[in-house]
Each structure stands twice: as structure tokens, then as C-alpha cells.
Amino acid sequence: MKNYISVAFVGNPNCGKTTLFNAFTGANLKVANWPGVTVERKEGETSYKGQKIKLIDLPGIYSLTSYSMEEKVSRKAILDEEIDVIVNIVDASAMERNLYLTLQLLEMGKPVILALNMMDIVEERGMEIDLHRLPEMLGHIPVVPVSARKRTGLDVLLHAVKHHYEEQNTDPVVSYTPDIEDKIEVLEHMLHEKWPEDTNLRWHALKILENDEEILKEHPLDTSEVVDKNYEKIIINQKYDYIEEIVEETLFYKNQKEEKTEKIDRILTHRIWGVPVFLGIMALVFFCTFTVGDAVKGIFEAGLDYAFAGMTHLLTSLHASDWMVSLIVDGIMAGVGGILTFLPNIFILFLALAVLEDSGYMARVAYVMDGIMGRVGLSGKAFLPMVLGFGCTVPAIMASRTLEKESDRKRTMLLTPFMSCSARLPIYVLFADMFFGKYAMIVAFSLYALGLVMAILLALILRKFSKSKGEANLLIELPEYKTPNARTIWIYVWEKVKDYLTKAGTTIFVASIVIWFILNYNTSGMVTDVTTSFGASMGKWLEPLLAPAGLGMWQIAVALISGLSAKEVVISSFSVLYGISNINSLEGMGQLSQILAGQNFGALNAYALMVFCLLYTPCVATLATIRKETHSSKWTMMTVFFQLAVAYLAAVLVFQIGSLF
């Protein structure tokens, strides 16, 4: 006997389900995949008056058919015995659409509690909902008004969970026309005879009438005498007819105002201004990332300096051996610490992306970019993973799951790494600052733009070679605009910051030690002259190859190879290579640019380096994700070489053409 109630959160996309889920669980959640499929499963815990309650967040879905992975997963979970009660989150300002899922849930027989979210928008629009009549028309299930954003009604909802989790729905809510009801009755009898244990016969009967593949497979019955055609359309229509009735009886307009969303959309989705506005917003995001991030950076640098001094002092007072001091100070602290100073830039970037996502703008981007993406044979929806790629390529690659066609998905995965992710940001911040002074920001922008242009250009070329014709089958909901919710944003950004810190503590930590090792040792032990180390001999071997791109220095070869572990490591490598303690500080930059200038490495070389870093093979984590999502090692290897080739060619072109002037 389990001692908790398990509750499934079910609702349409954009109904505030995640915000409500977060309101109960905070950031303490277990995120995993549903068994066997790549659909995210989130789980959290809360309690009400001593009763432990387990919350399971099902994917956002519009209906419970079995067309998409998300729908199949949700359906299985709901029918599963593990779940005791369903909390159906309904966007009160879009009841007409949301109630379709509700009616389907009610037919499944599990206890359902309706959480009526976004009542504030309903009021704002001058509408009113009859909270007495609504539950009456939905089979007397509890209906609880909540506000996920203002965190009201939460206790009432848990109260309802605790008191209603054992109440099964027995009476049918939607009565279909007599001819359909007759067929349902016959089917119920047939099902009962063959599977006497089954409880939700009505639901199964309906699914058989709808010709549902999964149910027909599980319940093989000869129904040819009853089911003479597919009744799906008729059943859908009758459900919507009933919803119209509900809306008519429970929703009242007092003084309807023009919706804010429509006003905003007139600008943001304008047929001409839509694209420039989007580009402007992205430019603003990067501007903030650089300026605000840089403003806070000082504090981090001071902290790092302090830590360096403290650690060196501590180690000498402990009489640590030289190699130990070198490993900790020149290796680990230079490598990891240098990366930590970029945290403010990363933080701002993710904050901006979170705001764009939570406000409802992202879906518009798919529409706005549909024209441009259409020309390269992809739908505007394929642009969304690419925008996410400005944050981190790994979740961006995963986001390409939302594309239905395998070939579209693969092409999107090939292009997404060209979007300049936050790990490449430190490289631009550092090198643009060092070599381009007051033009640093323009130079950094140019790289973001170059990534985007390259992606679109390559998509065009790929399209010439691919047989499949691109389809413009965009189908995406444009949700209501809303003020971003601080809590939702915080959880999102905190997750990313945590990832970044984890990466600094793991991948970058290990990479720094490895780099330190290969630079301080060779076959005969520790070296005093770095040019005789493992790293140097390896790098020297690549020097001639990189020379046409203006990158013919063994140090750069080492940095680029180590950058495969994570792109920030390129910066860590420079710190370790040149023994610079605080690379992102004015002092550190001065030191590095002086050394590099001594090696004939100027602004043009720096730009070629940045171009190469932008385009070359993505980090190991991205490659692992591509492998996982495509299930193809061949495809993954192709990505590796394709991007390497593109990066090399681009860097050579930049350097050779630049050298002419």
C-alpha cells in the first residue's frame, strides 16, 4: 500500500501547467524521460495536511488521440494504475479550446479535478465565468479557480485532491446522438463479455468507433457489424457542440475589450516589420549580454584575484611541492576560474531567452521566420531550435524533436550548431575586447550574424542535394502574451547557471588538468621548457595545416583540440598555455595580447580564430546528443567532419582575403 497520492498534471500547451507545477514543487524536481521515448517526464513532491502528494507533469497536449508521442505517453500514464487523480489545468481565457481535452479526460474514468487558471485575464477582458454551472455541466467534478502566477488557490486545489482522489466518474458527461449512443452500448456489451475486468468500457467503445489504432490492437474484436465507418469526425464534432453549449451557458461577456495580444501582434507579426523587429530584439539581447554582463564582471574578477592570492599563499605556507602549486594555480584555477568570470554574460543571455520564451513571443518567431525558412525547405518551426541554440546547443538539438519529419529534424540538427551558443561567448568577449577595442561589440555581432547566415546558406545548398521536397506545414499555436513570471524565469535561468557551474566543475576542470599535464610533461617527465612538452609536439604537427587560416601556432592547435570538450576550454587553454592567472581582467588581456603580438598574431588572426571557433565541430556533449537523437553514428560523424570542413574553409577565406588589404 503506498502512502501517497499521485497526481498527474494534464493540460494544453500554454495553459500555465508548468508554472502551476513549479508553484508546488519549486526547483526540486526529478527530470527524466518516459520509458522508451524521448519525451520529458517531470516529477515533484508536495504535501497537504500531512498527506504526501506526488506530482507528475505530463507533456502539454491538445487531445488524447494516439498520433504523437506526447499523446501516447500521456494516455498510457493516465490509464496506468500509478496515477490516482488527474488535475486538468484549463486556461479560463481559452475555455473553448481547453475543454476538449477535459471532455476526453472525463471519458477515461479516472477522477478529474479542474484547475481553472488565468482567471485574471478573464476578468481583465471583461468576462465572467459561472462557477456553479460549469461543474454541473462537467459531471460535478471539483472546479478550482487558481492563479499559477500569483500562487492563489493552491491550497484549495490540494484540498480537492485529498478529498476527491477516490471518486470515479461514472456518469457520461457528453451524450452523443442516439445512433452513436446505440453503437456505444453494443460495443460496451461486446467488450464486457470478452474482457470482464475492464472498467472504462465507454471510453474503449468510443475509441473503437474512432478507429483508434492502439485500442484496436489491444482489444481485437470483430466489430464490423456495428462500426460501419470511422466515427472520429462525428464524435469530435459532437464534443465541440457540447463545448459550445458549455461556453454559452457559463461564459458571459460584460464589456469585451480588444485583446492586448491582438494589438501587440499587429506590430510583432507585421508582414513587413516582423523580421526586422525580431532581428532588433535579438540584437538587443546580445547588446545586454555584453554590456550588462561586462559591468558585473569586475566583481567576479576581483573575487578571482583574491582567490588566486589566497590559494598561492596557502600552498606556499603548506610547503607544497612546485608541481602541486603549478597544477592547482596554473592548471585548475587558471582554467576553471577564467571560465567562471564569464558567468554574468551567460546569466544575462539566458535571462533574455527565458523572458522571450515565457512571454509567448517564441511562437511568433516561428511564424515570422516561416518565409525565410520556407526558402530553404523548412517550416518556421525549425527556426525555434535554432534560436535556442544561441543559449546552448544541447537542449536546442533536443528541441528539434517537435519537428515531425525525420529529414527536417536531421537537417535542423545539422544547422543548429552554427548558432553561436553561450560557450562560444567567452571567446568573443575576450578576443574581440583584446584586438578590436571599441569595435568589440560590432565584431561579436558579426559572428552571431555569420553563424546565422552560414546556417541558412548551407541549408540552401543541402536542399539542392536532397530529394525530399520541403513542406511549409507550419502549425503552431500563438499563445496570449503575458508578463513573464519571475518564478518560472528564475527556475529556468537557475537550471542553466547550475549547468554552467557543473560544467566548470567537471568537464572544464578535467580538461584543465589534462591540458596542464600535456603542457608540463613529456616522455622523460616534467619539462621546464614548454616547447618540449607533449602538447607542443602535438600542436606543432598541426601548425602547417592551420597556417593558411592564420592560426599556424602550436598553442592554438592545442587550444582548438581541447575546445572539443567544451568550447569555453579554448579560453581555459590560453590561460594555462601562457600561464595567465586572470585572463578576463584588463591585466590578463594585456598580458595575452602582448604575447600574441610577439608571435605575429594580430586582429585578422583573431577574427579568423573566432570564425573557426564559431563554426567548427561542436562540443562532445552536443555530439552525444546528436548521436542519441538520430540513433546514427554515421550521421554524427558526418556532422563532425562537415562542420570541421566548413570552419576550416571559412577561416582560410577570412584570413586570405583579409591579408590582401
Binding site: D265, R271, A363, A472, N473, P479
Partner: protein
């Protein structure tokens, strides 16, 4: 007339849907069926259109939009 030719700002009724089976079933589940009332909100030059159906806004690509036939809505 097809949805790509419909006037922005006007209201119509769906008469026929000639799209891929998979997309048809998705549209139906979203409540876009023959007989449904549709409002045209916006359109891009490539034919992608924003519509309002049952209180929700949807962006449809030109392929889908051109497969949906409409007639003037009379209440």
C-alpha cells in the same frame, strides 16, 4: 475560396479540408473541422496565415492554408 485567398480581418466558415491525412486529424482534434467558424487575423507574403478558431490563435503554413476551403460566414 482557399484560406490563403481569404481577406485579413474577415470571418469565414470551413467547407472543405484537402490536406495530408496526418495533418487533417491534428486539425480536427484542434477543433478545425468542416463547418467551423474561422477568423483571419494576419498573413505573410509567403501565404502563412494567422487564424483564430474557438478562441485560440494558430499560425498555419501556406501548404496547410491552401488546402482549407472557406465560404463567407453567415450566422
Amino acid at each position: 475560396m482557399s484560406l490563403v485567398e481569404a481577406k485579413v480581418g474577415s470571418v469565414y466558415r470551413v467547407t472543405q479540408m484537402l490536406v495530408e491525412q496526418k495533418i487533417l486529424r491534428r486539425l480536427e482534434a484542434l477543433g478545425i473541422l468542416e463547418g467551423t467558424r474561422i477568423e483571419i487575423l494576419n498573413r505573410k507574403r509567403n501565404g502563412a496565415t494567422i487564424i483564430k478558431v474557438r478562441g485560440a490563435r494558430w499560425a498555419l503554413g501556406s501548404d496547410i492554408a491552401s488546402g482549407i476551403n472557406l465560404e463567407d460566414y453567415t450566422a
